[in-house]
């Protein structure tokens, strides 16, 4: 048996630090009341236990080189995993001892007796100190062992675990969609033990029976189809999803409808930012400004409570219909895009990002300022914004379903706009600018105009979201447009996949739907206190492991993995060799060095 002590020590250290960090961040204690499997397992324990499990699992992961026999795991890996977990557990034991004997509550809010009680399972600190290393070692060894199991055993096991955890965490959503399922849950929100067992057996059985294979088969057959069949299947897919989205809010309760409406608003914003960042490559950190312009324009036009200074123009009496207000919002956002964009767009890279950040804040501060108090009511905001009235239907905040349908229509428009523009003269110019701005300019592209166009289109899409937001919430304050909103939209685009429409949709669902928006709760309401922590961790993890996003744009992943892409192409025989290859350099090297300087 050959143990890599250095690796074990470093991984064990990371595990211990991770556990102690989360414990002191207050996550376990805060989440303890929320049960997953009533009454034995709470979300608080889950927030800690996954760390030794994953870190242990990593110990049995070996780099496999093609053509080289894998080193193969075995008992050694399981022992290594166990040792990593043990070290992590020792970290927690040490924490128990320290918290019990010293008082550091002043800087560390969660340095509390509750933490000691949680970590010692309410049975005295001795139990905790002894038990954590044991639990850690067990989980670490288990994590390492699962990787070594044959896939026939591993898959059902994983499926069962994920199903039980999924059902347990998404209790609110599941009960909201299908009320009869309420019977699965205990009062604390967790699954009852019987329900957990039933679910585990059911899902493991399905997985073992090969249900996953069927799904994969359908997917590959779609990916491999070409021509007319492919477009027919695509049309079917789009039609199916549209029908699903139309029917979904009819069968679900208010919570889900509200969630869908919020996802939709952020999807509109993310689609707009995707054009600016994903297609044209302009890093805009002040995107919320256009959201604000759209929201405030709609508010001023439709609410009787807009600032008194608007009285000078009798037309602006705050009685416009929502559709007209939307039209004017689009116009105002486009103008704002031009005004902010014109001075900014000549800059490149980091400078541009910083300046947009500034402009985003300036717009918010203008709405907040005393100077414009007579127009926009400063911090009091504009209230009493009527719902969007279409004659046959109204979209209002108290009826989230109507808002969702409105958003659905606007999102369809935004998706169409993104999709058309990407495959046009303008889209190609954006791509070229993203690749190499000075060459693009030498090839006859007026980079300033083209980039400005991206800015304006993005601003217009943001104003859609602003108008809907105003009608939905019914009141608008400068605090609705904090810089955090810009950041979260950007994270949605990055995590989803820059430049990919499907990716942006996935990003909105995962981040806003599951974790929640800046002020809107998501599915995991329990986590809302730690939302930003999770956002940050997710972003770091994505950048390390999957920088191209959840559902990447083909071109973007090509950029990020150019080497791998070239290797694959070379294996398929697609990298060309010069027909008259007398120079080894020109023939073999896909990326030859450039000529000498003149």
């Amino acid at each position: 048996m050959n143990l890599d002590t250095k690796l074990i020590a470093s991984r064990g250290g990371v595990t211990a630090i991770g556990l102690v960090f989360l414990a002191l961040a207050g996550m376990p204690v805060g989440l303890d009341p929320r049960m997953l499997i009533d009454p034995i397992f709470s979300l608080g324990y889950l927030s800690l236990l996954w760390i030794p499990l994953v870190m242990g699992g990593l110990m049995s992961q070996h780099v496999e080189l093609e053509g080289v026999e894998s080193e193969g795991g075995g008992v050694g890996d399981v022992v290594a995993g166990g040792l990593v977990g043990l070290l992590g557990g020792l970290g927690l034991s040490l924490l128990v001892l320290l918290v019990d004997n010293f008082d550091l509550r002043d800087p560390l809010v969660n340095w509390s007796p509750q933490l000691v009680e949680f970590l010692s399972f309410g049975k005295g600190i001795g139990v905790g100190i002894v038990l954590w290393p044991v639990i850690g070692a067990g989980l670490g060894a288990f994590g390492a062992a699962t990787r070594l199991l044959p896939s026939k055993v591993k898959k059902p096991l994983m499926t069962a675990t994920l199903t039980v955890l999924g059902f347990a965490t998404f209790e609110t959503f599941i009960v909201d969609v299908l009320e009869p399922l309420e019977n699965l849950y205990a009062n604390t929100g967790g699954l009852t033990i019987t329900a957990a067992i039933v679910l585990a057996v059911l899902s493991a059985g399905l997985s073992a029976a090969g249900a996953g294979k069927q799904v994969r088969k359908v997917r590959t057959s779609y990916q491999q189809s070409t021509g007319a069949t492919h477009s027919r299947q695509t049309a079917l897919l789009i039609g199916g999803s549209a029908a699903f989205l139309i029917i979904l809010p009819m069968v679900t309760g208010k919570i889900t409808q509200e969630l869908l409406a919020n996802i939709g608003i952020f999807l509109l914003l993310a689609l707009g930012l995707n054009i600016v960042v994903g297609l044209a490559g302009i890093l805009d950190l002040g995107y919320v400004a256009f959201f604000a312009v759209g929201g405030y324009t709609t508010a001023v036009l439709t609410s009787p409570n807009r600032g008194p200074n608007f009285d000078f123009l009798p037309v602006l009496d705050g009685t416009f219909g929502w559709l007209i207000a939307l039209g004017i919002s689009i116009l105002m956002a486009a103008l704002a895009g031009l005004f902010i964009g014109a001075p900014v767009i000549r800059m490149r890279g980091d400078y541009l990002a910083i300046v947009t950040l500034g402009f985003g804040e300036i717009i918010r501060l203008l709405f907040l300022s005393d100077w414009l108090n007579g127009w926009f009511n400063g911090a009091q905001g504009i209230t009493n914004i009527p719902p969007a009235d279409f004659g046959f239907a109204q979209a209002k905040g108290t009826d989230p379903r109507s808002v969702f349908y409105l958003v659905l229509v606007l999102a369809a428009i935004s998706i169409y706009v993104s999709w058309r523009l990407e495959r046009s003269r303008l889209g190609r110019a954006w791509m070229a600018i993203r690749e190499d701005e000075s060459v693009a300019e030498a090839m006859g592209i007026n980079t300033v105009n083209v980039k400005l166009m991206a800015f304006v289109v993005g601003a217009v899409l943001a104003s859609f979201a602003g108008s809907v937001f105003a009608a939905k919430v019914g009141s608008i304050f400068p605090t609705s447009f904090l810089i955090l909103v810009s950041i979260i939209i950007l994270v949605i685009v990055i995590v989803g996949g820059m430049g990919s429409i499907l990716g942006v949709m996935a990003g909105s669902v995962v981040l806003v739907g599951v974790l929640g928006g800046p002020k809107q709760p998501g599915l995991l309401q329990e986590f809302s206190e730690y939302k930003l922590l999770i956002y940050g961790a997710l972003l770091v993890w994505m950048m390390l492991k999957r920088p191209e996003g959840l559902i990447p744009n083909v071109r973007r992943s090509r950029e990020l993995h150019q080497e791998e892409f070239l290797q694959d192409a070379w294996l398929r025989g697609e990298v060309d060799k010069d027909e008259e290859a007398s120079e080894a350099q020109a023939a073999g090297g896909p990326a030859p060095t450039t000529g000498g300087a003149s």
């Binding site: 303008l426 110019a429 070229a432 010069d578």
Partner: protein, 262 residues
Amino acid sequence: MTRLLDISKLSVTFGGLHALKDLDFHVDEGEIVGVIGPNGAGKTTFFNMISGMVAPTSGEINFEGESLIGLDPNQVTQRGISRTFQNVRLFANMTILENVMVSQHCRSKANVFSTLLNTAGFRSEEKEIRERAIEILSFFGSRLVGYRLDQPASVLSYANRRRLEIARAMATQPKLILLDEPVAGMNPKESAELTGLIGRLRSEWGFTIVMIEHDMGVVRDVSDRVVCLDHGETLAQGSFEEVSTNPEVIEAYLGRPLEKRA
């Protein structure tokens, strides 16, 4: 023959360095002019100035009788001058077809509205752009067409990248093409083939060409006239024989013989 490009007293200084000093230069329509000179002679700076990427300190650049001074690179391209780069700068992650399509930007005019409404004008223009791109790529034989069209430019071999750069320059529909070391890094056979293509660029497509090149064989074979630059000044110009036998040119390349130095 009409004068296409007329440059007089062109100078540029970077700090204290005179990259170009009082340069006079002209190109007539339909000419192929070779620009030679040792490393650091200012040849690429010269191209950068014509294409608007570097602004001259003083002097005049006239193209078809109109001044190019103060124009942005894209406006220069719009007027009808396009270029390739010495250190091949393709849009590596765009497909080969897209590389050529995007270079027709300044010759097309679809805007946001016609794109979104998918108007007849938009569709016919897209079709035209695509067909012209394929026509241009076909000029290089079968290397850049067929299954290649939808592959990213990064999979191309070095020689094919150079060819694609020329295709991209052609796509801007220029009158004058500036080629910056078109055969650098190619083997003799490829160079010979490209030499032939450069001749056909004039005879079949009607382009006027200014070419920087270090390969004297290529310069001899295609140039009507050769200009030698050194230290930012014109050292000699005339036919290849005249320039290549000019003692000052030989000195600039090889240095002064020992006995003369004393």
